[in-house]
């Protein structure tokens, strides 16, 4: 309850609608606008990549040229002019700094303003007593700082930018990159494979529990720039890691594309907990500007008894389009998807998950809470597939939508495919509006309507929010309130 | 020859050992009570005896009327005369109680070479049994246990026992969730079934039920084996002292 009270406090005190909308005037190094093989080579060269990496990018690029932009999703958007965008933008600071003291103070200020601790003794803003978090900070196309690297290295844990991993750990990257999301997977993942710029790489060795939360903080700053980050996390046998991802962008009138790919691999008895608080700039009330967040996230639970848990709180972006998924190959492996998606004003979202049961006794659980307000439109789309050999598989899906106001929409499209009689699949979904009696009860106790809505919606989402690591849960609760500002009255 | 002989029985659930060398012999006409703390394996014993899937016997043997009980399928055991009154009777929407009862009774009758009841005769047969247990025609028309109160479910269990006329009846916490009046009705139903041939195994956590169904022997189950046996006075001792000493002793 304390956290709820804090969320309310935050709703009360926050004046602006999107507090991360500032632009930092920092000189940037751009690749020429547009997309062609030379740009792909340029990016690869900038990153000092080996030949095999360049070849892989080119293969993806050539394949991408043969593909058509998909149109089956619910949110439709004007055609993207892929030639009218920058594919590489980096703050002009010379070489990557060796230590934090060498980082451009202006950049440090950005992260300070965002509440992201880049000094190792600091903790996430506003959360006293929270445990240390290691952070990889990605600014436009490059990783500007990674904290606690040395401390993690002592345990054999690799946490660095993907560019660095390509250079320093090519054997791991070669083995796993594209092994979960192949370069030819889908239009945006293929584009990402050709032009990805940065992102994080994590390897947890056998039997190690990562002693702290790992976190990447993505920031788009430059104008007309697409962000194409690539994240790869490998949890070797018996290991465990909890990984957090946050993102913001300045307030701009034009749309910017963010097309990331995240690949997770768990081997026997390993577990990855992946949490996202997505707060890209959503555009203004009339739908002008905002990020197109078209992301491919997929986990391969290769090992037996392995587990991947996705938690996402999606409040930002003009359009969110993503389905963090689990391929449950290992016997007894477990996939979880917990999602809160809030769309307000003119935001659109088409999100959900896919759970593919291949191994025996595999289990999946999907809890999705969608809140739609203003003129927003939101779709939950999910696939649960039980393959022939998945004896004893279990799925439980609960999918609830809440509508606030009579101009928004909420849609639920589950696909349920079962080929095994010993599997049990159970799906439930409801759509309703916020309870008038609940609202009245809160208001009768002295809350104004916005406070009451924030409180009720936080309650509606509780099951999901409580799966977040503590540091994120508080922030997420605040976001729930903020995202719904102006949705009532 | 005893009606039921359990020798050094070991059983696991999900590879977890629950019964660890249990011995128990019940003769015809005897009433045995098993008492024990929660989680000691009382329900597990009842499921192992009635043949539920997932309860794996890893050692020992069980003879029922001299036959190897463990070799039989669950329905075969029931037709041979093993009856279990469930701690949590199962709801079966869509199957009326009367159809369910008739199917079961006829399966047992045919097993013993008797002719099955037709619908009319069965109604007569079951009404007689139901009267004493306060089970109305209306209850018989409703789906099995579906929407029944706790007391109704337990009365339905006893009615099934009366209708199936088993040689051995195992009652798993039949007293749980019953108020004193309902308990009396159930206990009277059980006592009416006491006979020289029939064996009764009454599983309970509290001594209260045993004031109404007076046992010949009382056993204490802890950590998967019988740790103490005695006469009916043992139940009263347990009421005073609780189970704490057995939990330590058995460790």
């Amino acid at each position: 309850m304390a956290a709820d009270a804090e969320a309310l406090e935050q709703v009360r005190t926050i004046g602006e609608q999107y507090k991360y909308g500032f632009v930092t005037d920092i000189e940037a190094d751009f690749a020429p606008k547009g997309l062609n093989e030379d740009i792909v080579r340029f990016i690869s060269k900038k990153k000092e990549e080996p030949e095999w990496m360049l070849e892989w990018r080119l293969k993806a690029y050539r394949h991408w040229l043969t593909m058509e932009e998909p149109k089956w999703q619910k949110p439709q958007y004007p055609e993207i002019d892929f030639q009218d965008s920058y594919y590489y933008a980096a703050p002009k600071t010379g070489d990557k700094p060796k230590s934090l003291d060498e980082v451009d103070p202006q950049l440090l200020e950005v992260y300070e303003k965002l509440g992201i601790p880049l000094r190792e003794q600091e903790v996430l803003a506003g959360v006293e007593g929270a445990p240390a978090v290691a952070v990889d900070a990605v600014f436009d196309s490059v990783s500007v700082a990674t904290t606690y690297k040395a401390k993690l290295e002592e345990q054999g844990i690799i946490f660095c930018s993907i560019s660095e991993a390509v250079r320093e750990h090519p054997e791991l990257v070669k083995q796993y990159l594209g092994s979960v999301v192949p370069y030819s997977d889908n239009y945006y993942a293929t584009l990402n494979s050709a032009v990805f710029t940065d992102g994080s790489f994590v390897y947890i060795p056998k039997g190690k529990r990562c002693p702290m939360e790992l976190s990447t903080y993505f920031r788009i700053n430059a104008e007309n720039t697409g962000q194409f980050e690539r994240t790869l996390i490998i949890a070797d046998e018996g290991s465990y890691v909890s990984y957090l991802e946050g993102c913001t962008a300045p307030q701009r009138d034009e749309n910017q594309l963010h097309a990331a790919v995240v690949e997770l691999v768990t081997l026997d008895d390993a577990e990855i907990k992946y949490s996202t608080v997505q707060n890209w700039y959503p555009g203004d009330e009339d739908g002008k500007g905002g990020i197109y967040n078209f992301v491919t996230k997929r986990a391969a639970c290769r090992g037996k008894n392995s587990k991947v848990s996705w938690t996402q709180v999606e409040t930002g972006s003009a359009i969110t389009w993503k389905y963090p998924s689990c391929i449950l190959q290992g016997d007894n492996s477990v996939g979880e998807f917990y999602s809160v998606a809030i769309t307000n004003n003119a935001q659109l979202a088409d999100t959900g998950t896919k759970m593919i049961h291949i191994g025996k006794n595999t289990r999946s659980r999907i809890i999705s809470k969608g809140i739609s307000a203003g003129k927003a439109d939101q779709t939950y789309r999910g696939l649960v597939r039980i393959q022939r050999g998945a004896n004893g598989a279990r799925n439980y899906t609960q999918c609830d939508s809440l509508l606030i106001g009579d101009k928004c929409g909420a849609h639920t499209i589950p696909y349920i495919e079962s080929q095994n009689p010993s599997a049990q699949v159970e799906h439930e979904a409801t759509t309703s509006r916020i309870g008038e009696d609940q609202l009245f009860y809160c208001r009768q106790r002295g809350m104004d309507e916005e406070e009451a809505v924030a409180l009720i919606v936080n309650g509606f989402c509780k099951e999901v929010l409580q799966t977040l690591p503590m540091e994120f849960a508080v922030e997420a609760q605040k976001l729930v309130g903020i995202s719904l500002e102006g949705s009532v009255g | 020859m005893a009606l039921l002989e359990i020798k050094n029985l070991h059983a696991t659930v999900d590879d977890k050992p629950i019964l660890n060398g249990l011995d128990l012999t019940i003769g015809g006409g005897e009433v045995h009570a098993i008492m024990g703390p929660n989680g000691s394996g009382k329900s597990t014993l009842s499921y192992v005896l009635s043949g539920r899937d997932g309860y794996e016997v890893t050692g020992g043997e069980v003879l029922f009327d001299g036959k190897n009980l463990l070799e039989m399928e669950a329905d075969e055991r029931a037709r041979e005369g093993v009856f279990l009154a469930f701690q949590y009777p199962v709801e079966i929407p869509g199957v009326t109680s009367i159809t369910f009862l008739r199917t079961a009774v006829n399966a047992v009758r045919q097993h013993h070479g008797e002719s099955p009841f037709d619908a009319m005769d069965f109604v007569k047969y079951i009404r007689e049994k139901a009267a004493g247990l306060n089970v109305s025609d209306d209850m018989l028309k409703r789906a099995v246990n579906t929407g029944f109160s706790g007391g109704e479910k337990k009365r339905m269990e006893i009615l099934q026992m009366a209708a199936l006329d088993p040689k051995l009846a195992i009652l798993d916490e039949t007293d749980s969730g019953l108020d004193i009046d309902a308990l009396k009705v159930v206990a009277e139903g059980v006592n009416a079934m006491r006979s020289d041939e029939r064996g009764l195994l009454v599983i309970t956590h509290y001594q209260r039920l045993l004031d109404y169904i007076v046992p010949d022997h009382v056993h204490v189950l802890a950590k998967g084996r019988i740790v103490k046996s005695g006469g009916k006075e043992l139940a009263h001792e347990l009421e005073e002292s609780g189970y704490a000493e057995f939990l330590e002793d058995a460790a």
Binding site: E426 | D75, V90, L164
Partner: protein, 447 residues
Amino acid sequence: MPDGSGHMQPYLDQALEGASNLVGSGVDWIDALRRAGADAYGTHGLPKRRDEYWRYTNLNALADEEFRLANGAPAIGLPSLPHKLVAELATYRVVVVNGRLRPDLCALDGLPDDVLVSGLEDLMAAAPARLEPYLGKIIRLDEMPMAALNTAFLRDGMAMFVGDRVVLDKPVHLISITAPGDRPLMVQPRHLVVLGKNASATLIETHITAEGGSSFNNIVAELHMDDGAKLNHFVFQEEAETSVHLSGTAVAMGADTTYDSFVLQSGGAIGRSEIHAYLNGTGGDCRLDGVYLASDKQVVDNTTFVEHAAPGCRSRQVYKGVLDGQSRGVFQGKVHVLRDAQQTDGHQLSRALLLSPRAEIDARPELEIYADDVKCSHGATAGELDDDSLFYLLSRGIPREDARRMLIEAFLSEAIAEIPLEQVAEDFTTHVRQWLANNVGSARGQD
């Protein structure tokens, strides 16, 4: 009407060939309707896997083999019907063989005043103006490519008009027989039902196949319900295992109407029942229930679209299926609530039992909601029989196969309990038992 690449869609040539000789040809609106059907189908073609509502039901069989349009109705007599109790009901009987009305087999004596039951082609010849306000008015050709194909072939079937306030004393039983010869046969029947204000009727459809080769039966029914009308609609799909049975039903519901539909599908190599219900007036109440039983390599598809276009309507759907052998069940259901349809109450349930390790169920219950004051939900389950229930039955001495049958029957009973006509419900139960006896172990126990 070739598609963009100049390619002629399968079957369109057959439709275009005969069109100018058909009854109604030369009547502007009928010509226009047939052309609109041909255009819509010509643009779309046979549904493919990438069509959202056809991803689970593959119509390659129709492309691989050329089915020829039936040439008149063969002179077969009325065969015995698979549903004895339904056959024994006192009904008005309409018989359609290979898509053509067979007046000699119909029994329509004693129809009340202000009720017309006739062949569609006869009415098209005699009084096309009577059909004009209704025929082709509620089928959305662009959303239903197979109904578009049927419209291109528009010719014969049953037309039924029930006047205002008339309560039909007996059900109308539409018996639809496909009688293939030795060549693959295609039939394109078209039915129209119009209920006036506060009229009330019961319509039973039985679909069967006579001896012969393979067949493709593409049916469309349009049901118009004026304010306050009430229609009970039962469909028994019992076609042969050599038959592709596709049925598209569209029902337009006025204010305070009640449409209660129950579909049993246990026949066909492919059986698809597609129902589009449009709740256009306030206070409408729509019930769509169904049971499907499939074995061998059957594909049984139930697809529903319920559109809440007016406030204060209610829709309820319960579909239950039992799948054995290598069969596949498909349930796709969409509840679409438009912006103004406040106070909508919509519920959908799909449950499937898989009896065999080779069987499959694909379900896609869908909610698309644009009004906020709604209560909508759906549920879907798939799996085998509940272990606890099975053990409870076994522990009472009931043999395993009997126990399984009892539980399957109980599983279906929730849907069957919704059947308002007692004989029909009884017939269903008998039918289900028979099917179970044939498919789930040996028959025993029970009555």
